[in-house]
Symmetry: D3
Subunit: 255 residues, 6 copies
């Protein structure tokens, strides 16, 4: 099984970005099951990080186009590399191989682990985005709350210890005040920093790392011989009827 982790931003344009991508590839392969290989790729242009709905939308056209290419290249499944699952439905319109979002996978897994879960994410500006995502996944009634550490994505790496500390604090409030019995780290950067693992020890409830859960959910879907329904995520009509040969043909430039 060959999986590709698709970062929905041009992360590989800086040396640090490339190093981070290498680190993520290593993490994913370390957690992959026997017989599963994971590579990582990004998109040529897009937002530096996603902290608003606008930046979420900015990432989608190139990410979707890249997903279509990746299917042509023979990958078995695509891990969408942003917690809010930007454009997940569009990617599924363009391809037949499984595409898994980290937000979706963790929400569904959390629904199995307990009765109410909370998400600890970065900033206030994405709270509504994540609430909407969980509702669209279909488990909105199990969402206890979305809480934030109030650190921007770019600053997370500067002080991992502080991020863990605040995550533990907010997790504690989620359990006590919002009656959460399970917690999710709602940001891939927080995920790859293994903040969930560090916090779980202190909090005594399951704390989901999206980077791991997404990978495992993908292995489960492929292992079950399944992919998303093309009746639910229909191929765009212009591609289905042959008017467009590829996603790029659906985009026009004004003369």
């Amino acid at each position: 099984m060959k999986l590709i982790y698709l970062v929905s931003g041009p992360t590989g344009r800086t040396p640090q970005g490339r190093a981070e991508m290498a680190r993520r590839r290593e993490f994913l392969n370390r957690h992959a099951s026997q017989g599963v290989e994971v590579d990582i790729t990004d998109i040529p242009s897009g937002p530096a990080s996603i902290e608003s709905l606008y930046e979420e939308y900015l990432s989608i056209p190139e990410t979707a186009k890249r997903a279509h290419e990746l299917e042509q290249d023979g990958w078995d499944g695509i891990l969408l590399g942003c917690y809010g699952d930007p454009g997940l439905d569009a990617l599924r319109e363009l391809v037949s191989i499984p595409v898994i979002g980290a937000g979706e996978a963790t929400s569904l897994m959390a629904a199995s682990l307990g009765h109410r879960f909370s998400i600890i994410t970065v900033t206030d500006s994405v709270v509504y985005m994540l609430e909407k995502m969980v509702r669209n996944v279909g488990v909105g009634e199990k969402l206890a709350s979305v809480r934030t550490v109030d650190i921007s994505v770019m600053d997370l790496h500067k002080d991992r210890e502080q991020a863990i500390e605040i995550t533990v604090e907010e997790g504690r409030k989620a359990i006590k005040e919002d009656r959460a019995d399970s917690l999710i780290v709602g940001c891939m950067s927080m995920g790859f920093l293994e903040i969930a693992e560090a916090a779980q020890a202190e909090l005594g409830v399951p704390f989901l790392n999206p980077a791991r859960v997404q990978l495992k959910f993908m292995e489960a879907m492929i292992g079950s011989g399944l992919s998303h329904s093309k009746r639910a995520y229909m191929t765009p009509p212009k591609m289905a009827n042959g008017d467009a040969k590829s996603p790029a043909d659906l985009y026009h430039v004004k003369n």
Copy 2:
């Protein structure tokens, strides 16, 4: 009051497109209240029409950037020119002036007109998109059904009579089988062809033309001295803290 109707595609790149835009401007000004002027604009590049979630996402980055410019240019409100309200939330993040979606405006107006409404739209490929839109607007429990005429957006203009005929037929089924008491035309092209007006006479229930309702809803919002909540639609943090001067600064190209 000066309003701008923002087509979320590069419609003005062909002579027919420009003619259609002129026709829409005329329609809007004809229905505008005294003291209200409406102009129309489009985006330099984007999808030719929107019949999938992928095409919806393709339209958003340029439309949002254009919305930001239009606010700088001094317009009082922006009419988002696509029924599914693509990127409406992102546009509201970028501007403070009112932005109204036709899907949202008609869903809310229909909730006032009766107990259950149905949407008659173009093709199966957008049904889920519209169901999701209505749910996000908050009136999902009043949605009786989404039905289709099964004609592509591009083909609608070729045979208006046929489009009316099928719309009447599907509207009748919506009333009888789905217990709808009000109907909405779920496509701007169908709206500007005044299909709702033609069908309403035969069906005896309110039939909402999104092109009119959206305009009037905007007049009502501005007339009430209101615009969307910036606590609900926060300015992207990188713009709020000055790191980005404009929406374009949030987009990076990989070297």
Copy 3:
């Protein structure tokens, strides 16, 4: 467009009441669009103010009968003059011209402005009434809370400054504790005192004045060529089949 604001109580029986009605007419005409005229009327008997469900019901029979007369008199639309929308559904059964409730119009407009709204109203005795109204409108899932200033309708005019102060305080709690991103003044008397406008400046979120929003929503509905569905609000069978010539014929006195 000629609109009539129908006070659902015998307000015009005292000199102060008549003065207040004149003030409201002036307010409405000041905010009406060009080409729109608004007059005001009341009912011969009914409750002095509405602070309970019982008083709400007391107001309906005469208000509904009056609405039927107003349609005969040639008005284009009826603005129901009480925030809780008492008998709105019955009025729509009796007439074909649009009837708009302030509760309904503000709830729907607020659903467009943000994700969660709170209503600030007079007393505890109407909280459930307003919650039920919002649920029936269909946007119950967006209602964050109903809060009260704990001042009776009759006392509001005695100290406008105090009413504003408490409204600001409760609005602040609604934003912080209930996560509201938009606010509504839930009482027509508070509305015509322009408490929302005064409070909005301090709170930084949209604050809807029902007196303005109701008027504008009516202009939008008529401007869209629409009125409520008679399949949703059926004419009473005894009137539809001619057994009763007018609403009064449906009422009998025991001998």
Copy 4:
């Protein structure tokens, strides 16, 4: 235990009406438990029958005032004599003794009998009214459908056999097409004609007669030492603070 059945119309003004009221009293006493007596009364003026929301509202002011008198007269509980429970909440504001609606009692009892219930009522004009009633009771998710025999209240007595036949037919459709496992007769006149009992034998599912269930639910509430919560149904403030001595004081006539 002394109960009073309060007809929400001036039924006793005609000889036939008085005979029907005597018949109902006899029915209720026949089904009352040992030690329970039931008398019947009506209101001096109101609608002849209730087949619209307008007629529902017409009945409430006099019915509520009468309820208040009945409490003064020492009755132990009031059975509101119209299936749609018109003004039930207002009656509860005015009195402390239990008031039970037939719509409410049957909906709650049906929720115990199975998973989904349907209501068979008179005409299309009351369907929405009953759907709203069930939703407000709190068991809306168990309502399978509201179906009609399409016979007016006044005509029901003319051909009981036909009413039973159509009720059986619609009940069968409710079971097969709407997946109902229990049925309710949604009209007091149908109830006192014992249509449910006749139909139940043919359909093999519980068929609730509102006239019996309402009585028994009242006996259960009083037998449990309970009455409605005055925090939920608050006394109108003007009565609570002594400004009004009785419900009549809340009603004013314009000079």
Copy 5:
């Protein structure tokens, strides 16, 4: 009418247990209507008390088998003697006579008494169980909260005064913080200790004693000539087709 209260545990195996059962029989007969007799029985083996889902399930097989025997013995109705209604649906599969659960009966009665109710029960370990029960009954939207006195079932009898005191305290919080307008004692042992009656005097809202409400709800169901729907609670197929003669035949022991 002859009713049997079925304790879902082997309570009668100790002298104290037998005394408690006698006390309960006396309580039930004291509150029964004229003409109604209640006896009490238990099961030969099962959990000592129910404070977890596991213990709930432990009680069901013997309780269900006993219910089947009780129907054979000619009882008119079965009162299931545990607040969480363990196996209520299974008992209804096995018998045709009414079976009433105390959780179900109080939830439905509370839905009639007000808008929001809270349950005060024993320990944290049953909170989710009771939330699930209320949701399955169909009135989940009216549940304000489940609160606990944090005393085990076995310890309740040791200090009734303390149990009342904490119940009043939690009831007060439920009213103020959770906006409950009615309260339910969520444990049969608390019920038979008449804690609700003691607490109601101090709290001023209806406080339901499950031991009384369950009995009265049963009288109401039988008095209405009703029992649960066998389309909703189907007889197990192997019994319906004669393969099994009794519930015991459905259970096999591995050789």
Copy 6:
């Protein structure tokens, strides 16, 4: 990773049963990932098959006790071997290792594959049981329908071809009439007969085999380093405080 599939019935008491268990073990090991071993076990006594809620409850006490032993024996995870997930919550109270239900796992996986799913199961007598299970899992809003092949569990093996044929037929109706875009086989016996795989080819939508999906969901949960929350599924208090040493101590026999 060592997993144990726990049949919730005494299947191994007959030669055919033992053969079927061997077949299932082979199936599970064939689909297990590298490094994962699966063994199978059953319980000493219980129902022959589960086609009613009563039989579901019959299976739980022994299954739960066995689960507790299996954790002591060092297994890494327990696959609960009945589609309706009988007692899943109780098993989780008793153990800390992951326990996965096939109903839960397929419902959550289906929520990722599309917008609406249908379950094809054996007989009418389990339809409500499965609807309740899906609702409790938290994805009830995505359930399109539960349909049946009307063949008893015991008869499924007699004519696999017929079972496939009817499954395809019902699946087609689910897609067309209920708008399902994904399907689930709602019975483990149907699952191990690989009916989903056979039907999927003809229907063109994902068809989930619970036997595979449950296994893969377990691998995903363990692979993510997770198990259910003990705050959600609390250890029974009597075991937590040491009064009971094992689940068996919670069960008493009447002398």
